[in-house]
Amino acid sequence: MAKLAAKCLMAGDPAVGKSALAQMFCNDGSHFQKNYTLTTGVEMLVKNVAIPETNSIVELFIFDSAGKELFSEVLEKLWEHPNVLCVVYDVTSEQSFNNCAKWLEKLRAQALGINLPGVLVGNKTDLIGRRVVEQKQAQEWAQNHGLEYCETSVKEMENFEAPFHILANSFHRLYQEKRGETAKQK
């Protein structure tokens, strides 16, 4: 049995639902925060994710980061040594989707030369009539940028665990690969 620890950076435009997603996951879907509160700097949440068919656990340290540009300098320091990435956008906002490239670039700049598993999350799928970013388009973009993709409606409590399970499993897979490589070093 192994216990892994991963620093998970969460980023995306303001009000796409990053904090709601992180909090929903960490409190097991018991509470959806209806009122918007602006995240300043970073809020850290911790949760253990069991890896299926193993005895291993990945302890995720989720760094829910402010989306407002105002805090970007503070973030640089708090984002040091990341392990996995979660970029969130709002499927009803074209701009929030277009800005994912910028967020991803900033996150990856924190660990140049290191393979960082990541996931792109399209949130607010419950707003069917207002949707402007199509699933296929986002999925392709994610694939081209080496990210996994999933869609959620945190409000309807749909699929909110998926992004974190994807990240924990990717990190665990990476660990196993790396351990195999290390065992070959002389």
Binding site: M1, A2, K3, L4, A5, A6, K7, V58, E59, F61, H81, N83, G113, I114, F171, L174, Y175, K178, R179, T182, A183, Q185, K186
Partner: protein, 141 residues
């Protein structure tokens, strides 16, 4: 007084703390005398481990065999308990892909009952420590 490496479990040394745990790669592997076995870190930095000699040892050279370690800090304590650590050295190691890092540190006449190794960062998510060797001898307490 013996001239063997005191940093071996067979000589009474023990790893009393390690911040990562995977039962396949236990911290005891650092002091088993075999560089093919290792202790691995399992995620976020910093990471650390503490070796207890259970006696005072006097040494002049320390060698660590590791993989993908970027910044390491070594501290020592002369107390009976693992407290009051003092810095011995802090160093940025070179990246060497495909082979273990062998890093030698010289200390003029150093004494310790505990050694603490803090790995502040790595060249990858996970790093490993294969051996710690000490050129020294046990002192009579």
């Amino acid at each position: 007084m013996k001239l063997r490496d005191p940093c071996l479990s067979s000589e009474g040394a023990e790893v009393i703390l390690a911040t990562s745990s995977d039962e396949k790669y236990p911290p005891e592997n650092i002091i088993d005398g075999n560089s093919e076995t290792f202790w691995t870190t399992t995620g976020m930095f910093p990471q650390e481990f503490i070796i207890s000699f259970h006696k005072c040892i006097r040494f002049s050279k320390l060698t660590i065999l590791c993989y993908l370690v970027q910044t390491i800090r070594i501290e020592k304590s002369l107390s009976m308990d693992p407290v009051d650590f003092e810095k011995c050295v802090e160093k940025d190691l070179h990246y060497s892909e495909g082979e273990l890092q062998t890093e030698e540190f010289s200390f003029p006449d150093c004494q310790a009952t505990y050694l603490r190794f803090i790995i502040k960062s790595g060249f990858d998510h996970f790093v490993s420590v294969h051996r710690v060797m000490v050129d020294g001898m046990a002192e009579d307490m």
